[in-house]
């Protein structure tokens, strides 16, 4: 590695250093004595389970939170970020997972909102703004006209606008907080190119991600947090994936996909000719007891829409379903639950968890008829039911009366799954069950799914993560543009075949 000697971290000066940072919230120590160095022209990956303190450090770096202790140095100068404006003035900018953009403003207005170039009388200099926007868009490699209204852009282009907005301030430090979570393969590739460009420009990049493959692909250095403390740091070339996982969870995760051998039983759910005017067309499959049926496809292939139709949220235009051999009509979630079909949605915050209600009330909501008497609540029964099912998922919480909104994503997901298991379903549909949750919770969810299948539950697992499908599913159906594009037995499943089916590319001739 002689060629890179000039940029080795030992010799270069950090663009930004955090030393001994601590942050406490009432009753919780979010960070204690953590340090982080970001070097110009290098990507530092920040790794840790949900709740390890990653978002807290991002908020400290962007001036939203003030630390209780420790120092921040920018280019060797001690400083303080009293507010978001100060952080941005010091050259720190962040690309968030979901940036709020304005649909009815132009691309340039979105990029420069809050710091548009001014002309005479303090009015916005539109010509200059559009010109600057064009330059930034070119820099990030996006072919977008700055005067286009944002509403007319696709999701991917909107994301590029969000990135351009972050880069429109003159930043030396760029924070990317799970930037690829909502992107397709092609967009992710474009993002990697952008990261390379930023590196070449000498920016210091902090890259937060749950995906190990991308960390190893683009990061130069890593820092691992565990429970608000430093669990390790160093050069990426010196570690393996297993090392990072061990640092993150404090134990080694040998078996990430605990697929159990299960005897497949009778058919529970038969779907025939299921169609929707716009979302999916002519879907046929059978699901059996003890089976995990994977649904793979690109974002927008119609998988979630199909599942929501099975759950009674949207109406199919054609087709029928049979549950345990009997024709079933499902017009609402209440009816679906009554028939034994339940759905763990992808959008946990909006559709899964009821934030504002305590954990135990979230668990018992669809089972109230069981825990109550003639419509009157019985709290003791509710606590009993909630305790029984959350314990099976190894939930971590301060009390069952705690607001579900205070839990980490992984623990919220455990509550949502507990909620459905408490209804004693026949079929459980899980939609991206481990999206955005930490490795520890992920393993717990996977292990639990394996256990449920072994106990005779039928599981449909919608996932965009290939390893998850390959690791967990007995059978996989691939959807493309609303249609079934392939069906594979476990023995036939390979990453290559699934990806080709999803993208509509012919199989390699062998």
């Amino acid at each position: 590695m002689l060629a890179s000697d000039t940029t080795t971290p030992k010799t270069a000066e950090a663009a930004l250093s955090l030393r001994g940072i601590s942050k406490e919230f009432p009753g919780v120590k979010a960070l204690s004595d953590v340090s982080l160095d970001l070097y110009p022209g290098q990507v530092t990956a920040l790794v840790g389970e949900n709740g390890a303190g990653k978002s807290t450090i991002v908020k400290i770096l962007t001036g939203i939170y003030q630390p209780n202790g420790g120092t921040i140095e920018v280019a060797g100068q001690k400083t303080q970020f009293a507010n978001a404006h100060a952080a941005s003035a010091a050259g720190v900018t962040a690309i968030h997972q979901e940036t709020v953009l304005f649909d009815d403003l132009s691309v340039a207005e979105n990029i420069f909102i809050g710091h548009a170039p001014r002309g005479r009388f303090g009015l916005i200099d539109r010509a200059k703004m559009n010109e600057n926007a064009r330059a930034i868009l070119k820099q990030v490699g996006a072919d977008i006209n700055p005067v286009t209204r944002l509403r007319d852009l696709g999701i991917a282009s909107k994301h590029m606008v969000a990135i351009s907005r972050a880069l429109s301030v003159d930043a030396q430090v760029v924070i990317m907080d799970e930037p690829t979570a909502a992107l397709s393969h092609k967009e992710i590739a474009e993002l990697y190119e952008l990261v390379e460009k930023l590196k070449a420009d000498g920016k210091a990049i902090l890259f937060i991600s749950h995906k190990f493959d991308e960390i190893f692909r683009i990061a130069d250095r890593y820092t691992v947090f565990r429970d608000g403390q430093m669990a390790g740091e160093g050069l990426i070339e010196d570690v393996s994936e297993d090392d990072l996982v061990t640092m993150m969870v404090g134990r080694s995760v040998d078996q990430i996909y605990p697929k159990k051998d299960v005897t497949i039983g009778e058919p529970v759910l038969t779907v025939s000719g299921y169609s929707h005017p716009t979302e999916f067309d002519d879907i046929n499959f059978e699901l059996r007891q003890g089976e995990i049926l994977g649904f793979y496809g690109l974002v927008g292939a119609g998988r979630s829409e199909l599942m929501q139709a099975l759950f009674g949220i949207t109406k199919p235009s054609k087709g029928a379903i049979k549950i345990a051999g009997d024709i079933a009509i499902v017009r609402s979630p209440a009816e679906a639950i009554g028939r034994g079909i339940v759905y763990v949605p992808e959008d946990r915050g909006k559709q899964g968890a009821i934030i504002g209600l305590p954990i135990f009330q979230n668990v018992t909501l669809p089972s109230l008829h069981k825990t109550s008497q003639q419509g009157f609540l019985k709290l003791a029964e509710e606590f009993k039911l909630a305790r029984e099912y959350t314990a099976r998922l190894d939930l971590r919480a301060a009390s069952l009366d705690q607001d579900i909104g205070e839990l980490s994503g992984g623990n919220q997901q455990k509550v949502v799954i507990a909620k459905w298991l408490a209804t004693k379903p026949r079929v459980i549909v899980v939609d991206e069950p481990t999206k955005g949750i930490d490795i520890g919770s992920k393993a717990a969810v996977h292990e639990f799914m394996g256990e449920l299948a072994a106990n005779g539950l039928a599981i449909i697992m919608v996932s965009s993560e290939l390893p998850e499908i390959l690791g967990m599913a007995d059978r996989a159906i691939v959807m493309r543009e609303g249609r079934m594009a392939g069906e594979f037995k476990r023995s036939e499943m390979t990453a290559d075949r699934l990806v080709r089916a999803a993208a509509g590319i012919k199989e390699k001739a062998v």
């Binding site: 009821i354 504002g356 909501l365 419509g375 971590r396």
Partner: protein, 336 residues
């Protein structure tokens, strides 16, 4: 952040019932109620007279009955601003039936039926057509009262049968009026519905996250429809009591009550955005507002001042919690 919590030792609750009660908004309301009572007693020699106190209850009983149903509606994330107009329309319908020669039972049935129908109309518009309730009920507010004006013009219905007077003027025992008894009964019924039943739990779930509630198998639209129906019904009940008490119907009857009722609900600690609030809180807010109104009356404060006071109160109870948290945040910042 601690790793000590494993599944087996997650406690049910960390706070006792007593601790939660002590920290609640309701406790603050009890203190305010006592203060208002003491101030009233000190500033007017007539206040402590049992008959005067009994009279004072009429300042809130009818409004509070509507406020109980309104509280549930607001907890669910909806609102009904047409309640006062429903009272007017129900009262007008009763007057019409009275002129047609019908007796008290039919009059009461008419008032309640009109209330329920108006509630159903609001409910259909909001739940079937998916319109925002604030706009729908501003519209029906004009519509319902407009019908009363068309029917009555500048005239009034008078001459209700003498046995009809019991609902608004009758006493059950000594100074305890029929309306006060009704108020207590409805307070208990609504407290049980909201706090002790599956329906009440569903209302909180809907108010916190309507989509999540739907995805949990709650029949969101049906429950919201029931809440609009209940609010209409309670407006009908209030119309019977008020018409009976006044002995006449004018189209301006119960004018502006929706403001006082929403104020009562919000002062009672119900979040105007939905999701939280209690019936005991609304009961306390009703007592406070009733006593303040009565105290102002004893001191000969003009009605317009009362209206200013209600407006300020509404803004204050919405703004205070926000100011409180802002003050706390800035204090925390200064400390850091």
């Amino acid at each position: 952040m601690s790793n000590d919590f494993t599944a087996r030792n997650i406690p049910d609750r960390l706070t006792t019932h007593g601790q939660r009660t002590l920290k609640s908004w309701e406790t603050l309301l009890v203190i305010i109620a006592v203060m208002v009572f003491v101030v009233n007693a000190l500033s007017s020699p007539y206040f402590l007279n049992p008959w005067n106190l009994s009279d004072a209850t009429f300042n809130f009983t009818e409004k509070a009955m509507i406020a109980f149903a309104m509280a549930m509606l607001i907890v669910s994330g909806e609102i009904d601003l047409s309640v006062a107009a429903i009272v007017a329309l129900a009262s007008t319908a009763m007057g019409f039936m009275m002129q047609a020669g019908f007796g008290t039972p039919i009059l009461v049935a008419t008032g309640l039926t009109v209330g329920v129908l108006c509630g159903a109309f609001n409910g259909v518009l909001v739940t079937r057509l998916g319109l925002p309730s604030i706009v729908v009920t501003i519209g029906t507010m004009s519509l319902f009262r407009g019908i009363s004006y068309i029917v009555l013009g500048d005239k009034a219905y008078t001459g209700y049968p003498s046995d009809f007077a019991f609902f608004g003027q009758g006493y059950v025992w000594w100074v305890i009026s029929f309306e006060l008894v009704l108020f207590v009964i409805f307070a208990l019924i609504y407290a049980v519905i909201l706090h002790k039943t599956n329906l009440g739990r569903a209302v909180y779930a809907i108010g916190n996250n309507p989509i999540g509630a739907k995805f949990s198998g709650i029949r969101v639209e049906r429950i919201k429809f029931i809440l609009f129906l209940l609010t209409g019904l309670m407006s009908g009940v209030a119309a019977v009591c008020l018409t009976s008490r006044l002995g006449s119907t004018r189209p301006s009857i119960a004018f502006g009550w929706e403001l006082e009722i929403v104020t009562m609900v919000v002062l009672g600690g119900v979040n105007i955005l939905g999701g939280s609030g209690t019936i005991p809180g609304v009961v306390l807010a009703a007592l406070i507002m009733g006593m303040v109104t009565f105290g102002f009356g004893l001191l000969n404060v003009p009605g317009i001042v009362m209206s200013i006071f209600i407006g300020l109160l509404l803004i204050a109870v919405i703004a205070l919690p926000r100011l409180w948290s802002m003050a706390r945040a800035s204090r925390a910042r200064r400390k850091a």
